[in-house]
Symmetry: C2
Subunit: 349 residues, 2 copies
């Protein structure tokens, strides 16, 4: 089969790889219907040292089950499924609490043991916990727009949802969302779904801001850094907002977040931090009793509730996909996301 490899910064290649096979009795093999490129894929795309061994990329897919191991009970051949971006047993102590990204037996795609999902086929470990069936949908007979929205339940929409959930967004909340990428826009949509009354979206791209506006952003702030902080304070009587959703992962976005957050408020991060150390002392978080929350989204915890809203057309999060490429051209998709000519790229093998 064909699969996507990263050989170093900027060096994405589609090459032949062995067809995946059942290795554990809890595995399933899935034929990929749609995969996509994630903002977090751009981090190794920027920084990966060149190497002779390529890394198998990708962690989002919708697909059709081809084969299951003998212990798999909840999915079977022919099922149309969504794979959350991490795999998990969905039965351990953390999974039962809704923190599946800390599953005792789970892990991440894109390792030598569990290759990435930007491919024609994929091996899904712990299939009972790691695949969610989409009932009564034939992927060959539904509109592309529905496929796109279903694919967002693998990661991007529910990562935005996690930002809002961990940020304690509720009815009437006032929220700033930092970042007009696909996760930031998803956070706007999720905050809106959770009843936020005022959503200030910070970004710089007109078309993205327009989608944010359509999804519930009430205010747009194009400035960043100190000017951006001042602009949000101007909009909020000098206070800042009690909730800040940080959907970028770079240090300047975090610095913007603690500048904006209102005393006693909460910063919720879902952009994978490209830093380890950051300000948390008296001058940033501590002095104003600001709280910090967030992390890798436990998509599996949210997917059951979100799926019916997508199937009913209540939300249409698939609008984050503004470019489609065949698997053979996925390198062009990475390049388009990297140079911001695409918001998010969907891949049809």
């Amino acid at each position: 089969m064909k699969a996507t490899f990263l050989y170093g910064a900027g060096d994405v290649r589609v090459e032949s790889a062995p067809d995946p096979t059942i290795l554990e009795p809890t595995d399933a093999i899935v034929r990929v219907v749609r995969a996509c490129v994630c903002g977090s894929d751009l981090h190794p795309y920027h920084s990966q040292p060149a190497g002779e061994q390529g890394i198998r990329m990708g962690h989002e897919l919708i697909g059709v089950v081809e084969e299951t191991g003998r212990e798999v009970r909840s999915v079977r051949k022919g099922d149309f499924v969504i794979a959350p971006f991490a795999f998990q047993d969905n039965t351990c102590v953390y999974c039962r609490e809704g923190l599946q990204t800390s599953c005792l037996h789970g892990g991440w795609y894109g390792t030598p043991e569990v290759p990435g999902l930007q491919a024609e086929y994929a091996r899904i470990p712990l299939a009972d916990g790691s695949l969610v069936t989409v009932p009564d949908v034939d992927p060959d007979a539904v509109p592309e727009s529905l496929l796109r929205s279903l694919l967002t339940l693998s990661d991007v929409y529910l990562t935005g949802y996690h930002a809002a959930h961990a940020g304690l967004v509720t009815s009437g909340s006032t929220v700033t969302v930092i970042g007009d990428g696909a996760v930031g826009l998803s956070a706007v949509l999720a905050a809106s779904q959770l009843g936020a009354e005022r959503i200030i979206l910070m970004g710089r791209h007109d078309s993205r801001l327009a989608l944010g506006r359509a999804w519930g952003a009430t205010d747009l702030v194009r400035e960043r850094g100190a000017e951006g902080i001042a602009a949000v304070k101007d909009l909020t009587g000098g206070e800042g907002t009690p909730i800040v959703l940080e959907a970028v992962g770079l240090l300047p976005a975090y610095e913007q977040a603690f500048g904006i957050v209102r005393p006693g408020g909460i910063i919720s991060r879902v952009g994978v931090p490209q830093y380890e150390d950051a300000p948390v002392g008296f001058g940033s978080l501590f002095g104003k009793n600001a709280r910090l929350a967030g992390g890798p989204a436990p998509v599996r915890a949210y997917i059951d509730a979100a799926l019916p809203t997508v199937l009913a057309g209540t939300i249409d999060p698939g609008q984050v996909f503004d470019q489609s490429v065949p698997l053979d051209d996925i390198a062009a998709g990475y390049a388009a996301m990297n140079d911001r000519t695409a918001l998010k790229v969907i891949v049809a093998p």
Copy 2:
């Protein structure tokens, strides 16, 4: 009058200072009945550069009102009062939300404008918001033990309480408290009052650990660093605790906290951070969705509920004071706290 000045690291002097006078119509002048030395006073005691101008130290007192400005309504001459360690109007938007340490018009003691409280008399700004009357108590006629417990409502007990409150301690909670100083022990007592079922106290001093045990600690861990983290994990089936109260303020204590906190758990800090940058990325907080909370305690928000429990003898937080000095000897009190021969020093002018 006599007052305490810090002229540089280790250089505490009691010298004459002008008697305070009413500067604003919202001021009160208070005769100090008891003051004390705070763990946070030790930070400048360690690091303050030598200077010709001494800094007026102290931010905790109980005392008797001597004089009030013409706009003061809630206290009057002769009232026995507690001063929370920050001053505040107790009417602004943040005060009304219970975050008085972010008061729009408040501030800290120990500045050129608002001198510290380790003195014979003190000027208290915004007296209506910054003083709490202790009803029906004559400070000259009650036991020293009650005075000590009342003084803890100025800072140390309610700072420990804030740690527990911000850490969302509730009935049945499992909590680790890092630090067996006066704040850490207060956090144990507060967590116990809030119903925590299991309290692991980390410290190294037998007498302090014994008080912690008396106040509700169920487990004592003497190791620190990696060994301390391993010890707490051993006690908790490998998971760590969902709540960690960090009552030290030094980076190693924070590092211990994120090592101990269970995935999805919360670290609540009340030790004033002696660092600005610290780990918050994938390997510390983010990867396991750990949350960070805490800051300067809004003592004023908690004092009305705590005062009756002290007056009734339900709690006796004044036991943190294990040494008493007259104001003239306060330098010896600083030294005793600094070399850990005293847990917390009370000062009788």
